[in-house]
């Protein structure tokens, strides 16, 4: 894959994390946390698994950690893990309905959010936040999927 395509993918992930940062102060009082950046990365691995593997997951994760993270390594771990799971089940996912995909990806995103709170902000860990975030991320995944698909078809 060319460097330009990597920039296009990285730009969309950056945009996702930037939007998260802008939106979270307004949603957090209602115990809702979005993770658009993580969902966008998951989408890319799901859409072009043969082009995004371990090395790409680590490099993208390192960039996100440096610009948005609380510690270097956190996004690297979760990008690598989600990348592995998607690679193993990628063809099974192709058979899934949108509903099943939304459950899987919002579940993975909720696990990512829960881990973030457990590692960095254990005092603010809340099951209510996780449940509500799961529901909201479930709904948002559908939008992310179609928007990112249009973006991929246009630019890649």
């Amino acid at each position: 894959m060319t460097l330009k395509k990597h920039f296009i993918i990285l730009f969309s992930i950056f945009l996702g994390f930037t939007l998260d940062n802008l939106i979270i102060p307004f949603t957090n009082p209602y115990f809702i946390e979005l993770s658009l950046g993580f969902m966008i990365f998951s989408y890319w691995v799901f859409a072009i698994p043969e082009k995004l593997q371990t090395f790409e997951a680590l490099i993208y994760g390192a960039f996100i950690d440096l610009f948005f993270g609380e510690a270097v390594g956190f996004h690297m771990i979760f990008f690598t893990l989600i990348s592995y799971i998607i690679h193993v089940y990628v063809f099974r996912f192709r058979l899934f309905s949108y509903f099943q995909l939304a459950i899987f990806f919002s579940g993975a995103t909720t696990f990512f959010i829960a881990s973030k709170y457990l590692i960095f902000f254990p005092e603010n860990y809340s099951y209510l936040l996780l449940i509500l975030s799961f529901i909201i991320n479930f709904i948002i995944w559908i939008g992310v999927y179609f928007v990112m698909r249009a973006y991929r078809r246009k630019f890649l």
């Binding site: 979270i24 063809f91 902000f121 603010n124």
Partner: protein, 275 residues
């Protein structure tokens, strides 16, 4: 037997990636290995935001020019900025005067502390609103375009009270840790209380844990002052009031202190800095 998928997904590479990332994260969380690098990246993001902000501001001014409002807007902004600067400066000068009064009766060592210190006003560059609203890390960032030497752990104040202390400087962006950050500890006192108040991880609140019998004389609404015991903040500066007293065990009470100054209301902050 068929594999789950026909793709070749060797677990070894992924496991190595996870282990490597885990080691990096462990070293960063425990020893702050990558803190300077992250500081540089964070500062560059803040500069980008400021550049975009300046661009938008200039565009707005240009539009206002067409509407014959440019001068009025500029004058208004300048006056507002001057008022905010004066308010922040007045508070800090008052604090320094009190330090001066104490210094008259103190040793030469404390005179050295005063010597060379000056009050500098800085404009806000960025506020980590995401973590401030949800989580326990509370930081703000100040612009230092004139490259004034700012020491680590210098007191930072708004127009009403101290709000935190400097943590580090990256690319002339000063990182400030607020009192409400869970990692910040501030020695405080009131007429019946001496304690090390830790940030509550919640906006505008810090908390003290003290023994039950010592907390009996503390009342809701008691004014809390800096005790000066940490060696960073001058003593007897009011920072907040007792907001609630909660029993958290058979022998301990938790005193929640509401801070006077809300950093979200301010644009300018003062730092006692080296000249």
């Amino acid at each position: 037997m068929a594999r789950t998928t026909p793709t070749y997904t060797p677990i070894g590479k992924y496991a190595a990636g996870v282990i490597l990332s885990g080691l990096l994260m462990f070293s960063d969380i425990n020893y702050g290995t990558f803190t300077p690098i992250r500081g540089l990246f964070k500062s560059s993001v803040i500069y980008s935001k400021l550049a975009v902000g300046n661009f938008i501001e200039r565009a707005q001014v240009s539009i206002a020019l067409f509407q014959n409002n440019k001068n009025l807007i500029l004058t208004n902004d300048q006056l507002r900025e001057r008022i905010l600067k004066i308010e922040a400066s007045l508070f800090l000068h008052k604090q320094l005067r009190e330090v001066d009064n104490n210094l008259v009766n103190l040793s030469n060592r404390l005179n050295d502390f005063k010597g060379g210190n000056t009050v500098q006003i800085f404009e806000i560059a960025d506020f980590d609103l995401k973590n401030y609203q949800c989580c326990s890390f509370h930081n703000l960032y100040l612009q230092n375009p004139e490259e004034i030497k700012v020491n680590k752990h210098s007191p930072v104040a708004s127009d009403k009270a101290f709000i935190g202390q400097t943590l580090r400087v990256d690319l002339d962006i000063i990182k400030v840790i607020l009192f409400s950050d869970i990692n910040h500890v501030l020695p405080v006192k009131s007429k019946n209380l001496y304690c090390n108040a830790r940030g509550a991880g919640e906006p505008l609140f810090i908390l003290c844990k003290i023994e039950l019998d010592k907390s009996r004389s503390i009342q809701l609404g008691d004014i809390i002052y800096t005790s000066g015991l940490g060696g960073i903040f001058p003593k007897d500066s009011p920072i907040g009031v007792v907001s609630s007293i909660k029993n958290i065990g058979s022998s301990e009470n938790e005193i929640l202190i509401k801070l006077d100054s809300n950093p979200l209301d301010q644009t300018f902050f003062g730092i006692i800095a080296k000249q």
